[in-house]
C-alpha cells in the first residue's frame, strides 16, 4: 500500500517501514515460513558479523591492526561485563552472551542504514531472544541446584505467615522478566525509527519545514545510534544479571 507522496500534504505513515514482505512463500498449512525481508536482514547481520570478525582476526598479530583492536575491544568488553556481573563461574556461558550481544548490536546498527530493515524492532524477534535467555537461564539454574532452585522463590528471612504470598509475588516477578526484557529492546528500536519517519514526513509537508526537519533528523539519527548500542548493552547486561541469579541464588 505505497502512497503517493503529495507536495503540501502531511502524509505520515510511520509504521510502513516495519511491514513484513515475503519474497517467496513456503506454506506449511499452520504457518508460512517463506523468506521475508526480516529474515534477509538477519542473514545480512550474521554475514556482517562473520566477515567483520573473520577479517579482524585473520591477520592476527601481537600488535593489533585497527580492525583487530576493535574486535578485541568488543570481546574484552563483553567478557569483563560477564565476569563483573555474574562471576567467574559464568564465563562458561560467555560464548552465548557474546553471540547475543553482537547479533543485537549488528541488527540495530544495520537498521540505522536508510532503506534497510530493523530486525530487532519486531517483538517476534525480541521475544524469541528474551525467551531463549529465560529458558536457558532457568535450565542452567535447575541443572546446577536441582530442586534447590525453588528456594530462589522462597523468602526464608520473611515472617512465616507472609511467605506464601511473597512466594507468589516472586514467581510473578520472575515470569515478568522475559516480557520486560523483550519490550525494552523492541519498543526502543521501533519508537526511534517511527519518530525518524514522522520527522521526515514533516519535510514533505511544506518547504518551510525542510531545514528544521533535516536538522532534527541528523540529531535524532545520532541519538538513535547511541540507543542502538545502548540497548544491545542493556539487553546483554540484564542477561548477565539473570544468569547471576540462577547461578548464585541471590
Amino acid at each position: 500500500m505505497a502512497k503517493e507522496a503529495v507536495e503540501g500534504e502531511l502524509n505520515i505513515d510511520p509504521m510502513h517501514q516495519f511491514d513484513i514482505k515475503y519474497f517467496f512463500d513456503i506454506d506449511l498449512g499452520i504457518a508460512n515460513i517463506g523468506f521475508t525481508n526480516s529474515a534477509l536482514f538477519a542473514f545480512i547481520a550474521v554475514a556482517a558479523i562473520v566477515v567483520f570478525l573473520w577479517s579482524a582476526v585473520s591477520g592476527h598479530s601481537l600488535v593489533p591492526s585497527r580492525m583487530q583492536s576493535v574486535a578485541e575491544s568488543i570481546y574484552e568488553f563483553v567478557r569483563n561485563m560477564v565476569r563483573d556481573t555474574a562471576g567467574d563461574e559464568a564465563l562458561k556461558y560467555f560464548p552465548y552472551i557474546f553471540t547475543v550481544f553482537i547479533f543485537i548490536l549488528a541488527c540495530n546498527l544495520i537498521g540505522m542504514i536508510p532503506y534497510s530493515f530493523t530486525v530487532t524492532s519486531h517483538f517476534a524477534v525480541t521475544v524469541f531472544l528474551a525467551l531463549s535467555v529465560f529458558i536457558s537461564v532457568t535450565v542452567i539454574g535447575f541443572l546446577k541446584h536441582g530442586m534447590h532452585f525453588f528456594s530462589f522463590f522462597w523468602p526464608a528471612q520473611a515472617p512465616a505467615a507472609l511467605r506464601p504470598v511473597l512466594c507468589i509475588i516472586e514467581v510473578i516477578s520472575y515470569l515478568a522478566r522475559p516480557i520486560s526484557h523483550s519490550i525494552r529492546l523492541g519498543a526502543n528500536m521501533m519508537a526511534g525509527h517511527a519518530v525518524l519517519k514522522v520527522i521526515g514526513a514533516f519535510a514533505g509537508a511544506s518547504a518551510l519545514l525542510v531545514v528544521p526537519s533535516v536538522l532534527g533528523i541528523v540529531g535524532l539519527t545520532a541519538l538513535e545510534v547511541l540507543v542502538a548500542v545502548l540497548q544491545a548493552y542493556v539487553f546483554t547486561i540484564l542477561t548477565c544479571v539473570y544468569l547471576n541469579d540462577a547461578l548464585n541464588l541471590h
Binding site: 601481537l62 600488535v63 509475588i169 516477578s173 515470569l175 516480557i179 525494552r184 547511541l226
Partner: protein, 110 residues
C-alpha cells in the same frame, strides 16, 4: 614475524609495555566526560524501564488470575487478587532496580 629471541624480543616487549601504558593513560583521560554524557541519557531510560517493569508485572499477574478464573469459573475473584500480587511484584522489582542504580552510582562516582 620474527622469532622472539634475545635482544629483539626484549625490545619488543618493552615497546609493547610502553604502548599499553599510553593506551591506559589515554583511556583514563577519555573516560571522564564520556561517562557523564551516557549517564545523562541513561537517566531518561531508567524511568521508562521502571514503568515497563511495573506495568508488565501487573499484566502478568492479571493474566495468571484470569487463567485461574477461567479454570474455576469465578471471574472477578482471582483476577483482582493476582492483579494485586502483580502490583506488589512490580513495586518489589522497581525498588530492586532503584537499589541497583544507587550501587551503580556509588561505584561510578569516586
Amino acid at each position: 614475524m620474527a622469532a622472539p629471541d634475545g635482544k629483539a624480543g626484549e625490545t619488543d616487549r618493552k615497546s609493547l609495555d610502553e604502548l599499553g601504558a599510553r593506551i591506559d593513560a589515554a583511556r583514563q583521560q577519555l573516560d571522564g566526560p564520556k561517562r557523564e554524557q551516557t549517564t545523562k541519557y541513561k537517566t531518561l531510560n531508567r524511568a521508562w524501564q521502571m514503568v515497563v517493569e511495573l506495568v508488565v508485572s501487573v499484566v502478568v499477574g492479571g493474566c495468571i488470575g484470569y487463567a485461574l478464573d477461567w479454570a474455576f469459573g469465578t471471574l472477578p475473584l482471582f483476577l483482582v487478587i493476582f492483579g494485586g500480587f502483580g502490583f506488589a511484584a512490580g513495586i518489589k522489582t522497581i525498588l530492586a532496580t532503584a537499589r541497583g542504580f544507587i550501587d551503580e552510582d556509588d561505584t561510578a562516582s569516586p
